[in-house]
């Protein structure tokens, strides 16, 4: 499966815009990703170890919050997108 890395996080992935990883749960994929790129961990997870609120994770076109959160399964042909939120006043 493929993880799409948004522009601001590429400084932590050696400028890679996509990372190919093995299938598994979203939790497995994020663990593998942050194991490969440890500096990414603080960007994605808060001190409580949970995904930061402004970090959205989609498997293909589905928000994992409406699936099974980090337990959502990611298949070999799936694309997982990490998207920080965009808002303001």
């Amino acid at each position: 499966m493929k993880v799409l890395i948004p522009t601001p996080l590429r400084q932590y992935t050696g400028k890679q815009s996509t990372v190919d990883l093995g299938p598994g749960s979203v939790d497995d994929v994020l663990r593998e990703l942050t194991s490969r790129y440890p500096d990414l961990r603080k960007q994605l997870f808060g001190d409580d170890g949970r995904l930061r609120k402004f970090v959205n994770v989609y498997v293909n076109d589905e928000d994992i919050r409406y699936l099974e959160n980090e337990n959502t399964l990611v298949k070999p042909d799936d694309t997982m997108s990490i998207i920080p939120s965009v808002a303001g006043g």
């Binding site: 799409l4 948004p6 522009t7 601001p8 928000d63 997108s81 808002a87 006043g89």
Partner: protein, 144 residues
């Protein structure tokens, strides 16, 4: 650093703010980011403002829309390099809410002031981070 944008895209994001007045507009800047940090806008993508509760002074882009835009951009060898929104009846300067809710470090945030339905000033700010502290830095816009 500087943001380079062609006149049709420049006019397009300003016009978007006039069309949605008195509410805020919002959208995405697609293009390329050079290794020296210079950004070139190749396209703008209009987005809907999700903040139906307070659209005159808040904006939010549906993350699903961003996912689709990011995926489409990648197929055209482009990146999301920034965002734009309007400030109806307010200056073209970032607000505390803009800073609090900005998370795309290194990207550009373009803000257009729309006064009485007419786009006036447009300014650009780059989101930077140092020692876990975010800030907006003035960024020059070059209209080509």
């Amino acid at each position: 650093m500087a943001l380079s944008i062609a006149k049709p895209e420049w006019m397009g994001l300003r016009q978007h703010g006039e069309e949605t007045y008195p509410n805020e507009c919002c959208g995405v800047l697609l293009g390329t980011l050079d290794s020296d940090g210079a950004k070139t806008v190749q396209a703008i993508v209009r987005c809907g403002n999700q903040r139906s509760d307070s659209p005159h002074n808040r904006y939010s882009i549906d993350p699903h829309e961003l996912v689709r835009i990011q995926r489409g951009a990648r197929e055209r060898a482009q990146d999301i390099i920034g965002f734009y929104h309007s400030h109806p009846q307010h200056p073209a300067h970032w607000s505390p809410t803009d800073l609090e809710e900005a998370h795309w470090i290194g990207c550009s945030y373009v803000i257009t002031s729309v006064m009485n339905g007419i786009a006036t000033q447009t300014n650009c700010f780059e989101l930077t981070a140092e020692n876990d502290s975010k800030s907006f830095r003035d960024e020059e816009i070059t209209v080509r």
